[in-house]
Amino acid sequence: MKHPLDFHVVAKCSTTKARVGSLKLPHATVSTPVFMPVGTQGTLKGLLPEQIEEQNCNLILANTYHLGMRPGTEVLNKAQGLHNFMRWKNALLTDSGGFQMVSLLKFSELTEEGVKFVSPYDKREILLTPEKSMEIQNAIGADIMMQLDDVVSSLIDDRARVELAMERSVRWLDRSLEAHRNKDKQNLYPIVQGGLHPDLRKVCAEKLLERYVAGYAIGGLSGGESKEDFWRMVDLSTDYLPDEKPRYLMGVGFAVDLVVCAALGCDQFDCVYPTRTARFGSALVEGGHVLPLHRSVYAEDFRPIEENCPCNTCTNYTRAFLHHTVRRETVACHLVSVHNVNFQMRLMSSIREAIIEDRFPQFIRKFMKKAYPNGIYPAWIVAALAKVNVNLSAGST
């Protein structure tokens, strides 16, 4: 049976591993590389679906663990899925709940069967198994679902534990594929695990390649490991994955990381960062810099957050006004979130354009100069980019 997902590479960078793809999903056709804002509880932090669309965003994330707890599958089924419930016409991706094993570790207990969580809301125990995760994700109805995986912190030292987690994740993938009830409308991505061990990552990828799936996620990273380890794991994971299928790098959303990881051949990214940081009054600007708008330097700064940004916030509001309202009024959160989502979307669009016009290396160099105006680049960026044939110092004076 054909997957309800059609991916084809539209353009390839002739220098790096970057590519532009067209990802056709049941609810939207998405251009990759794409950043997917995170709407954990079936809402993107105060924004109306229409406001999300206005930022040229047509694929967002929701969270299985949270939605399984509240409102639960019964309500989701009655609402005929999350798209309808939250009035979002475009594409959705759900993570599996695996990540919460790490983030809510103290509430969980792990066995081969699944993870037992104690709900922080009502102290109820729930057992999240691969089957249960699929049941919730089928009720949500996202265009792309994630398998439940055994997520261990990327900081863990115990190789045996990492290996066990990787192997268990593959077993859980098979159970997930078996339990998936909506194969004509929803896709299931397996997740490449293996921690920071290249050989385990390789074994994992090989096992996943034996399964019939629509795309792949690269997991177990962005958990506090060194950037050096991070980029190497991303790089070798994309090497093992087939060119003709989309690759989703989980939990990445800083501008610099997006540029590097697009160069390493990743197609999809997600992160709570742009909207979370907005709630604290931090606005994203060129080069991935942050304006902490609550600081008094902005009290008489009558420019928009970003001069050429087309978003409603930059069209109507100044930094000075936002300075007086961030951390006080919800409206300020919404305004900065709108801008930050727009920022991410524009960044990805500029990456795609550069790849299509085959000037991505120049784009990267220009971007990095903006990101590090003093010209001192972190070693991991220099190394990662050198690996895909981009010399950061080349062309600079």
């Binding site: 509880q41 079936g42 809402t43 993107l44 932090k45 105060g46 924004l47 109306l48 679906p49 229409e50 406001q51 949270h66 509240r70 409102p71 019964e74 309500v75 009655k78 609402a79 419930f85 939250m86 009035r87 009290a299 008489e300 009558f302 409603n312 916030t313 109507n316 509001y317 100044t318 000075a320 006004f321 300075h323 007086h324 309202t325 006080r328 009024e329 919800t330 409206v331 300020a332 959160c333 919404h334 305004l335 709108v338």
Partner: protein, 375 residues
């Protein structure tokens, strides 16, 4: 140009008219101005506000919430409304206090009137106020006034409130004139729940009648949630006696989060201008207004709102209100979804509720006006 031009079209049970703020499009009364805090209608970005009303629309921006913006607006050199992202021609009315925050009693003295800005309390003098107004350049503002008159306050307090308010008005008008400010001055009628004091306040105020653009009937509540519980019977006698003494030719404002039942009575009694803080209060409390007002007299029967965080809405897949034309209802957001957002404390709950409640509250005023024209 006069700061406020009021046209009274008709007086029967209540008044119908229109207010033109500094050449703006007429604002029809009885009417509901938008309620803002820190320069925004709570929870609504400008694009979302435009999903409810066509701006420009008169907006009430309480001084306490924008007090700290003084220095910024001064450097900006354009009026407060534009600083807050509103269109240039949008009328801005500045009262002293936020309708949704209770004013603690017992803080006013001869040194001035206490207001609570975000960073804490300040005592405001007429000089302070007029300086702020000279920078903020609103269409109209509330002259300094002491409205701290709880229902059972002492005669001495009543006396202070009334006499100081008359003096403050005099001071504000003087400073206002010296600086040739263009804003309209709204004089507050104080006197709490005492008819004699009210009359005294009116007499004092009317000494400056020609320099005043409208009246704020103040001192019947101290803002905050409790205002929503105010009943007409609590204030009827004093209010009607007060309104009788006021000249007909100027608009009468009553600010606060009044429930629709009270609004109907106040309109009948002859109050012209209100604000939308009640809609916001409901949104903040997880309530969706759902009273009907096809026939306003009947409207006051039955529940006024749905308490959407109650568990039984968890799987209620109906719209908040079947025939409602608001954004939330026409876009198909259900009670169950709003319930989910409330339960998970997601900010979109208040956005969707505010889109609905503000629409509903404004429609309610529209129906009050059309009922008038029919009768």
């Amino acid at each position: 140009m006069e700061p406020i031009r009021f046209t009274l079209n008709r007086v029967s049970a209540g008044r119908m008219g229109s207010v033109v703020f500094q050449g703006s499009a007429p604002f029809f009364t009885p009417g509901c101005m938008l309620y803002a805090q820190s320069g925004s209608v709570p929870h609504l970005t400008l694009d979302n506000l435009q999903r409810v009303v066509d701006v420009p629309w008169p907006i009430v921006i309480p001084l306490q919430s924008v007090y700290d913006m003084l220095k910024s607006v001064k450097t900006f050199r354009k009026p407060l409304g534009e600083f807050c992202g509103l269109p240039a021609r949008n009328p801005v009315i500045i009262p002293l206090h936020e309708a949704l925050r209770e004013v603690p009693t017992g803080n006013n003295d001869s040194a001035g009137v206490a207001i609570w800005k975000p960073a804490g309390r300040v005592r405001l003098s007429s000089e302070n106020l007029v300086e702020l107004i000279s920078v903020f350049k609103p269409s109209a503002y509330q002259a300094l006034t002491d409205g701290d008159t709880p229902q059972n306050c002492s005669n001495k307090r009543l006396n202070h409130s009334v006499t100081r308010s008359v003096d403050y008005l005099e001071e504000c008008l003087k400073l206002h004139g010296e600086q040739s400010l263009k804003s309209g001055v709204l004089a507050s009628i104080q006197g709490g729940f005492d008819v004699k004091s009210r009359k005294f306040s009116i007499r004092g105020t009317l000494e400056n009648e020609s320099r005043v653009s409208g009246y704020i009937i103040d001192g019947f509540h101290y803002n905050g949630e409790s205002t929503a519980l105010l009943n007409y019977s609590d204030i009827e006698d004093v209010l009607t006696a007060t309104l009788k003494e006021l000249p007909e030719d100027k608009p009468r404002f009553m600010l606060g989060c009044f429930n629709p039942d009270l609004v109907m009575k106040l309109v009948e009694a002859g109050v012209d201008c209100f604000d939308s803080s009640f809609a916001c209060l409901c949104s903040d409390r997880g309530q969706a207004l759902n009273f009907t007002f096809q026939d306003v007299k009947l409207a006051v029967e039955g529940p006024r709102y749905l308490q959407l965080n109650e568990t039984h809405y968890k799987d209620d897949m109906r719209l908040i209100s079947e025939n409602c034309k608001c954004y939330t209802c026409t876009e198909g957001f259900t009670r169950a979804y709003v319930n989910h957002l409330l339960v998970t404390r997601e900010m979109l709950a208040q956005v969707l509720l505010q889109l609905h409640n503000l629409h509903h509250y404004l429609k309610f005023f529209e129906s009050l006006r059309s009922n008038f024209s029919k009768s």
